[in-house]
């Protein structure tokens, strides 16, 4: 598995400050949850997410990942909610004892396309922002420095631990451990696989702590960073506007919901 989805491509979207990209994704996500129009997701995906993805030269990856991630959910939604949506009455197709109903399908469509937008908006950020840059940006915006340490260390450790997990799996299989077959066999295989992994990982925690202390990591002074982030006045203004827009969308939709005296159900 990839340690990160980040694709280093030369594009205007990639060059934006991580928080600007995050603000765009946030505004899209808020809009898709707040606007009660069945086709808002499709509109956002076609007219906002796709153009940005084309601009960022990542549209193939965004489309492919969005669909592979959302497809199982979409199938489940059609099967579960299409047939068993509570209170649905408008039958459009009868198979034996089961009936496909219009209200359920509508709910499945709205939810699946909304998930598509959430995934697409997130992937715009994920494919175009190195996680370490995002961590750096969050620290600049006032998040504790420890947060950046945790994220960056975890990302570096992950491929190491995955390699070790593969090694343990191979070693235990070579000793005759069965990892396929009945449920009982697979449960029995679980402990011999994770015990060496976890104890191995815990072993160097103390060393890491000593290394951090030796470098005065917890000193309350500003730290310099190896990664430089480019920002601009225009982007700072854009971020503020996007956040104001998101708040307004939430407030207006709350008002609309109260006006119609409807509970805050989605749809």
């Amino acid at each position: 598995m990839n340690q990160s989805f980040f694709l280093d491509r030369a594009s205007g979207w990639h060059a934006l400050h991580p928080l600007t990209k995050l603000a765009v994704a946030l505004a899209i996500a808020v809009t898709v949850f707040c606007v009660r129009w069945n086709y808002i997701s499709v509109a956002l995906f076609v007219f906002i997410i796709l153009p940005i993805a084309v601009w960022a030269k990542i549209w193939r990856e965004v489309l492919r990942t969005t669909f592979t991630v959302i497809l199982p959910l979409a199938i489940s939604l059609v099967l579960v909610q299409g047939f068993f949506y509570p209170g649905a009455t408008d039958v459009i197709w009868q198979i034996g004892p089961f009936s496909l109903k219009r209200e359920g399908l509508e709910f499945a469509f709205v939810t699946a396309t909304r998930l598509m937008v959430i995934a697409g908006a997130g992937l715009l950020v994920v494919y175009a922002t190195h996680p370490a840059d995002l961590a750096r940006a969050l620290v600049q915006a006032g998040a504790p420095y420890s947060l950046a340490y945790i994220i960056v260390t975890a990302i570096q450790l992950l491929p190491e631990m995955q390699a070790r997990a593969d090694g343990i799996l191979n070693a235990q299989q070579a000793r005759g451990l069965e990892t396929t077959g009945s449920l009982r066999v697979r449960i029995a295989a679980f402990v011999p696989l994770i015990a060496p992994l976890v104890y191995g990982a815990l072993e160097n925690v103390q060393e890491r702590a000593l290394a951090l202390d030796a470098r005065a990591f917890r000193a309350a002074r500003p730290k310099t960073s190896w990664r430089e982030l480019r920002d601009s006045q225009a982007q700072r203004v854009a971020r503020v506007l996007l956040i104001i827009f998101s708040i307004l969308v939430v407030l207006v939709s709350l008002q609309a919901a109260l006006w119609q005296n409807s509970p805050l159900v989605l749809r």
């Binding site: 598995m1 489940s76 995934a119 994220i151 975890a154 995955q162 679980f190 951090l212 990591f217 989605l266």
Partner: protein
Amino acid sequence: MSFSERLQKDFTTITLALIPVAVVINIVVGQIVATLKLPIYVDSIGTILVGALCGPLPGAITGAISNILWAYITGQIQTAPFALTAFVIGLCAGFFASKGVFKNIAWTIAAGLATGVIAALVSAPILVYVNGGVTGTGTDAIVAYFQATGANLIQAATIQGFISDPIDKTISYLIVWLILRGMSKRLISQFPRSQNILTEESQVEGTS
């Protein structure tokens, strides 16, 4: 002790060193479980471990970061809202551990069940409002069954959670109990909440 004092006591350097390791344990163990095709998740062992050794808030942060990082590295962006559930699992683990549940296997099981029930209650609204009640996995059959027999979306999602989460969290708690049994007392005593795990006499033994 005030809240901020407690927080400073919990966030020692060794806590900070443990959290990223625990995040990776969550993710990699989750992947091993998926490889073995076991019908559980067991993706919060690191979270529970940090809760037990370092306190509720470090545990909660471990859970939330694991979840968001998982969304980031797998592209499963729609799983990110469940960071809230992971956060609460960390809080629960820290709270129950401070009551000494990890000193006794029966209490460990009870705390696992309780955490599972709480996790199900936190997950259900997210599952309904974000995912429309489904996960895209086999447990959707449970949701379909209860909706077909008259439950609404939130009821069906909650029942589904009550069926799958307590088992999953109890297994996770038991694994953490086993891990803690196997850790050296010297290592455990380095962590801010070591008194959660060590009994009086073993503490003396560990520090001598």
